[in-house]
Symmetry: C2
Subunit: 362 residues, 2 copies
């Protein structure tokens, strides 16, 4: 009892509309997808008939002939990680606002799965967003030649990318710790395969040198809350009084473990996370962290991709939103270049003054 008209068994095709209105199927096609190339009156008649018959375009057929699917694939390396939820949220919003479809693919940290997905995607989607790809820059660049790609948190030459400027955040974090009297900072590393991990560490080393702070690094930890326990133990063992963790998941896990062990945060140990994911503000104590515009990164990635795919789209049929993706959050940065999104430090209760007699980190 809503938008669907008279239903017969079969799905309505442009032929049905053609028969109903007495025009050729091709005219119907035009009236629906290129409305200006058709007499205004017949155009109206056709659209009317389409509505009455409850016509819904067959996207497969449309894709087969036109080569365009109006879908984009979003690849995440681990759908279990809350970080990606924000990315997905951003891509989803921007995509649906433009009337496009999102194909969500979890590559499960596997380069092979990623390759397979990229291969399969070529016919299913017009482009893809790669977040935290496990492929080499060369591999990414190669695929980018065939399929329009935008990468998030990677920077392969020639491929448009969206970068979250966590190095900038690292600088703020160190400065914050210094202002609290800390002189030693321990980096709780993320996975070796992570591009961001290296990037953060290098930024940390650079800033630390400039500010005269000693830094150390403990071995890689998988980006899960559960990894935080081992990380906390290692940090305590290293005599650390201030840690910067690869991400909030690890940091939150550390908080829990430190509490269990009776290590007070921030009195005995300051902890800084990265990303400001869901939960960082209500954990115990609330986490000082580098707030990343993650959702925005997702939106921006889609906007860049859609721009490359030819932004203008006549709203042919149904679907909530239509028209090109709107919004003013696309920083300047050339269509094929890299866009860097700023990060800022959000200070909460997990950081505080350095202990009076700091133990020395290893």
């Amino acid at each position: 009892m809503s938008s669907a008209g008279t239903d017969l068994g079969r799905r309505v095709t442009i032929r049905d509309i053609a028969d109903a209105t007495g025009v050729a199927p091709s005219t119907v096609s035009r009236a629906l997808s290129l409305p200006d190339r058709v007499n205004h009156v017949t155009q109206q008649r056709i659209q009317q008939a389409a509505r009455e018959l409850g016509y819904v375009a067959n996207s497969q057929a449309r894709a087969l002939t036109s080569g365009r699917t109006r879908a984009v694939a979003v690849l995440v390396s681990d759908i279990t990680n809350p970080f990606y939820f924000d990315v997905i949220r951003g891509t989803q919003h921007q995509l649906s606002a433009a009337g496009w479809t999102q194909l969500l693919v979890d590559t499960e940290e596997s380069a092979d799965a990623e390759l397979a997905a990229l291969g399969a995607i070529a016919t299913k989607a017009d482009g893809a967003v790669l977040t935290a790809s496990r492929l080499s820059d060369a591999q990414i660049a190669r695929f980018a030649e065939r399929t329009p790609l935008v990468v998030v948190n990677r920077r392969p030459a020639g491929v448009p990318s969206v970068l979250i400027d966590t190095p900038g955040g690292v600088e703020q974090a160190v400065q914050h710790l210094v202002s609290l009297g800390h002189r030693d900072v321990l980096y709780v590393a993320g996975p070796d395969s992570s591009w961001s991990n290296e990037r953060r560490w290098r930024a940390l080393v650079r800033v630390a040198k400039r500010l005269g702070v000693r830094v150390a690094r403990i071995s890689p930890h998988a980006p899960f809350v559960d990894s935080g326990a081992a990380a906390a133990d290692a940090a305590v063992n290293a005599g650390a009084t201030a840690c910067i963790a690869f991400n909030d998941l690890i940091a939150i896990g550390m908080l829990t473990r430190l509490r269990e062990r009776g290590v007070r945060v921030p009195e005995d140990m300051s902890v800084v996370g990265c990303d400001d994911i869901f939960g960082a503000d209500f954990c115990n104590p609330p986490l000082t962290t580098m707030t990343s515009p993650i959702e925005r990164a997702g939106r921006v990635a889609i906007r860049m991709l859609l721009a490359r795919l030819g932004a203008a789209h006549s709203g042919a049929g149904q679907g909530p939103g239509s028209g090109p993706a709107s919004g003013d959050d696309l920083p300047d940065g050339h269509a094929a270049g890299a866009v860097a999104l700023p990060t800022h430090l959000t200070v909460r209760e997990s950081t505080g003054p350095a202990p009076a007699s700091p133990r020395r980190p290893t």
Copy 2:
């Protein structure tokens, strides 16, 4: 330098394979999708050639002729809600294990968007999973006639559904509170449009009556952390000493607000959440909540859907997983019936003994 063979500009089609092997395209098609209906030797030859040429089936074309897309749409009412993350995680895993594609759609709490999506989906996917649908039972049933559907947390007659048994959890929660000496329980309601909300409230009334507990209910709250502040104020104002919130988001928001106001949890007020989402274990204090097998619900929904769509699938080509969805987590419950997944209460530190002189709730 991996799976892709000699590339020419164009994508490889079955024609290319046919030319390369000297058979007809139709034979190639058969060799790839119905391998047993072809001479074993030529079959091998064809598959070999396909591999060497780097053939990837065009899913559009396949869908156009066969009518099957090997994709399913998952509709969520608000992708912003962590509850759905777990659902999506479950659906994604089960789907990719079977070599299927997931189309993620955010209906943004709008019945119209949901209708539109369902219409559009018919050609894009072979079926859909509806979580927390905003449509009427009749509307859902009507769509289910055309498109295979599985609903989560709804129970329209004749449509297979996956139910998370939060009413069972409510019973445990009340009993827990009673055992702590509570005699008054306040229900912090979720949105009126939520089917689960009514269901939980009715369960609460029923159990409370049986156990001789007084219950009250405060007005609806949107399922966001931010709504928790108003909810907490209302609860305090009502003189409550024990609350059961519609979900963890609201409960976590309440925790924060109560802390700000100096109301101690659980000494002054016990708080119970629902769902056990990410964060419920590390908020402050950790939340007593009804643990729901959300991810499992997603997996089960997909398994039911795939079963209805004809589980057996010959692994024609690439893709990480192939073969029918495996796993042993499909509870008995008829293919077209309702499957109820049990919930259990996880007691953490947000609940404790009733205050000595309880104030009376309104």
